[in-house]
């Protein structure tokens, strides 16, 4: 019978998770302004341009604005979020990882 050993757990302590409520969704995108937000990572802007073209071709009632976060993707961009809150109805952010 091999000796039985008790080992301690090497993991750290996780923080408490607070559930955050997300913004209510829109009834429709028609007549709305959607910001396409380039997070400036690995050619994100090129993909967002194609999403913009898709809206132009398939849902012309949607106004899209392509914008960029104000620094590198690892930093928060409150100026960008303020602008979208003031002037837009929704956002599509890409390409994240």
């Amino acid at each position: 019978m091999p000796e039985r050993i008790t080992a301690l757990n090497p993991m750290g302590y996780p923080p408490k998770v607070e559930r955050r409520a997300l913004a209510p969704r829109l009834d429709t995108l028609d007549g709305k302004t959607i910001y396409l937000v380039d997070c400036r990572f690995d050619d994100s802007e090129l993909l967002l341009k194609e999403i913009q073209h898709w809206f132009r071709d398939r849902m012309p009632g949607v106004k899209t604005i392509l914008t960029r976060i104000s620094s590198v993707y690892t930093k928060d961009s409150p100026e960008t979020w303020e602008e979208i809150k003031a002037n837009g109805d929704a956002a599509i952010i890409g390409v994240g990882h």
Partner: protein, 438 residues
């Protein structure tokens, strides 16, 4: 995703499919498990507009539904009551992992991804208690907080938790103050970056000789118990105390990095250095003991000696071979340091660093076209951050400096068997006091 929660703007995040696990777990840990996420194929980088249009017209590889349908519904489909609710929940880590045979526990630790896939010393109560004798600090004291990436939540850890990982690495109690200092830095040796980063840990001061660290012949190689186990402990504690390092979830390094087994961990050869020790340059007294942590360690260049006629060209060639985002740390054998003094006339380390800064240049249009410059430097330049904003205005063929002088460093290490020198692409984050943890 603060925009959705904090600013009340309905948002969809578009990711490439290889990140599906990591972005979902990040959303969950940030309290937004129902965040609307849509996936396109990997990669986006390097694709033509028509290829990207095909992504947009195609199907989400995770859900197999049309990408644009997912996006439109992500902005318009109402949340259920449970999805809108707030609330909170606790997560805990038990003190004891398990009880079993040596073999069973080795398997458990490996399967839980608590190891580096090599056998570990099992952290029994007795071994951890012995390890704790290496510090005057109490077992329950909080040492710091760590996370694998800026987007994740910080985890917390105590002196005992650090000691558990130090035991697993095979370290001795007298090494514990160095390991605690590395842990207290909050700099993770298990960053999740796709770039496959690793770390470098440079130890300075009296502690080097007190615990028998190697700063001479073979210092960076696996020939010294303190160097090897301190480095391994730093890596094990990073992955475990930050909440894991699991490929696809909390680790996304595409190729990985062999330096991540134990970091590049060594002591500086202060005795044979012509210049002041690294920690003294960074605010410590020579009698202080400290460990300095660097991240990066992807690009490594090396050369032998400095030839009279073209040494400047040779150094410049190596500097241009580094990636343009990560600054150079010169690791000089003491013989090489003396050659730099003889050839360059550098009376101080700072003079050598100034020369490197002036000579690490490439044509502006070449520099700005690097993907790494586009991702990490160009955005800062476009929003006016100096000196990048000025460098962005340079003519396309004007040679511009690649780095910032404050980020360039020199460390002396080696056994003087030949004047070899090396450049590690690495960013210095912190010089952390060892003495506080004795």
């Amino acid at each position: 995703m603060r925009i959705d929660h904090d600013y009340g703007v309905p948002t969809v995040a578009v990711h490439t499919s290889v990140f599906k696990w990591v972005v979902r777990s990040v959303a969950g840990a940030n309290g937004m498990p129902h965040m609307r996420q849509v996936f396109v194929p990997q990669p986006v980088i390097g694709k033509t507009p028509s290829e990207l249009r095909a992504y947009v017209e195609g199907r989400d590889p995770v859900t197999d539904r049309p990408v644009m349908q997912e996006i439109v519904e992500g902005l318009t489909r109402p949340f259920g009551e449970d999805e809108l609710a707030g609330g909170e929940f606790e997560r805990t880590t038990p003190r004891v992992a398990d009880t079993g045979s040596e073999d069973d526990l080795q398997v458990l630790f490996r399967e839980k991804r608590w190891t580096d896939q090599l056998p570990i010393v099992l952290p029994t109560e007795e071994r951890v208690a012995a390890m704790l004798k290496g510090t005057h600090r109490k077992a329950g004291e909080i040492v710091g907080h760590m996370r694998p990436t800026d987007f994740r939540e910080y985890w917390e850890y105590t002196v005992e938790k650090v000691a558990v990982n130090a035991v697993m690495a095979g370290a001795r109690p007298e090494y514990l103050p160095v390991i605690l200092a590395a842990a207290a830095s909050g700099v993770s040796a298990r960053g999740s970056s796709t770039s496959s980063m690793a770390t470098m840990a440079v130890v300075n001061g009296p502690i080097r000789n007190e615990i028998g660290m190697n700063c001479g012949l073979g210092a960076l190689a696996p020939y010294n118990h303190a160097n090897a186990t301190i480095g391994r402990a730093y890596n094990l504690l990073s992955q475990n105390l930050q909440g894991g390092s699991e490929p696809g979830h909390t680790y996304m390094g595409s190729m990985g990095n062999a330096y991540a087994y134990g970091s590049v961990t060594f002591a500086e050869n202060e005795e044979r250095s012509p210049w002041e020790p690294f920690h003294v340059t960074h605010g410590c007294k020579p009698t202080d003991s400290a460990v300095s942590l660097f991240t990066g360690c992807r690009a490594t260049a090396f050369s032998l000696g400095l030839r009279e006629k073209h040494w400047r060209d040779h150094v410049q060639n190596l500097l241009r071979g580094l990636d343009p985002r990560t600054p150079p740390v010169f690791l000089l054998d003491p013989l090489a340091a003396r050659m730099f003094i003889d050839r360059g006339g550098f009376k101080s380390k700072q003079e050598m660093i100034a020369w490197i800064d002036d000579n690490a240049r490439m044509p502006a249009e070449v520099f700005w076209d690097y993907q790494l410059a586009q991702n990490y430097v160009y955005p800062r330049a476009t929003f006016g951050e100096e000196p990048w904003a000025t460098r962005l205005k340079a003519a396309p063929d004007e040679p511009i400096q690649m780095f910032l002088r404050k980020d360039i460093h020199v460390v002396i290490v080696g056994g003087e068997t030949n004047p070899y020198w090396r450049i590690m692409g690495a960013t210095h984050h912190k010089t952390s006091s060892v003495d506080e943890w004795r």
